[in-house]
Amino acid sequence: MLLTKDSISSMFRSVALLWQNNTARLSEIDSLFGDGDHGVTVGKMAALTLSRLEEWRDASVKEFIENLGSGFMEISGGSAGPLYGTLTEGLAEPLSEGSEIDAATLKAMFAGSRDALFEITKARVGDKTMMDVLIPAVEAARDAPDDVLSVLRAAASAAARGLGDTENMAAKFGRARSYGEKTLGTPDAGAMSTALLFEGLLRGVEAPDARG
């Protein structure tokens, strides 16, 4: 199976809807050890994604994802915009102008998103950030059989496990860092929005009509 423009569109739509349905939860978690606005920022990213999908006509998949990334980059409200902008631009990195994506390309896209973030943050697994979800998801995708659905499933379940793991970590990055051990028992808000991203990408292919 190849991912067409339609499937990419459906994948980003389900990511946006999942984000939208979870903004309150994300802000609630963020308010414990951060400034409580992660849900607001993710809500802005969801709204931007939906409006970009609405306007998507002739642009290639690569252009669409790149433009979405630079759109996220400029969303105000802390680090989430630039982080997701970087992640999304990284997804587009390995793409060429032809718009159908096979499993190998999808794996390269995930690796591209991780590598783009590696360039701008020192956070790695164990630091209680979105990287606790992204890194294992990308690795699971890499090790999955070469078909698109297996890659997406492997990534989404590794992402969910990574999110669970953040509950047992003390924050080492960002504003939550100052709270250290007090953050044990609470998942990381950024890790949660990244897990929702991988879940949404999978749902967009598995159940394209599901609404969040």
């Binding site: 409580g36 980059m73 400029e74 802390g78 680090s79 630039p82 701008i120």
Partner: protein
Amino acid sequence: MKMKKFINAPENITKELLEGFAAANRDLVTLKPGNMVVNNKLASANRVTIVTQGGAGHEPALSGFVGEGMLDVSVVGDIFAAPGPQACVDAIKLADKGKGVLYIVLNHAGDMLTGNLTMKQVAKEGLHVVKVVTQEDVANALRENSDDRRGLVGCVPTYKIAGAAAAEGKSLEEVAAVAQRFADNMATLAVAVRGATHPSTGSMLADLGEDEMEVGMGQHGEGGGGRQTMKSADETAEIMLNALLTDLSVKSGEKLMLILNGTGATTLMELFIVYRRCEQLLKEKNIEITANFVGELLTVQEQAGFQMFMARMDDELIRYWNAPCNTPYLKRGL
């Protein structure tokens, strides 16, 4: 307790404060799209120029130091939040007069992220930019892990030092080296006795008990230091001063810059009482204060407390500190 602030719609705070700030200082600065506060003298500058970025809510920092002899452009984010990288790239392009741009970033997660993304982009575009990071909060990491230290009020004297070096016509590499040398030899410790409210959300940024103070507060009340019972001015001065002297390994006979920066709700009266004790203690140790400031440079809304800043000085740094400048909140005779 209900927040008592003179604001309008919370989502308009940054926009409205910048409009007011620019209007009140129109002889010195101009507000440009992208929340950029620009030095009116930038147009005629033929030297290294200086750009910084940071969240709003810390007035007069950071934009209060845009003007002759200090910053050329300050890019402002939302309340306590970094601006995006595109605005910073635009600011650097606007500032660049062909001699290169010094880009000063405070060490906070969001600012560093924007800083790294901005540097990636300007490198791609072939611009000549050097980034200097201010990270001097001794409370949250040891000196050997200074990458983990937060940037507090130390950015302001760093602007002054770098601005004066740029005004002397030094090259970008020289200006950056001076700024870095100053930054490597500075340290700040903060104390808070009462937290502030986040102006957009109304949430408390720190919750301190009746008879408590916390030494080692971050910029936004992140905590991370020692809570203790409230102490007198003299006792507090001694605790903080000794922590900074130890961190910088200051020896008898050295020269220092000492800044007491009120964070919003501590009176000048209190700051002077603390300063008095600092000077007495330093005199006993045969350490000279050759540069100082007592007042508000970088605030945290109505947080009560102050940041004590110390930097090791030499003759060149003293010359830069005393050099002329004309910005809304720091002026020296021209």
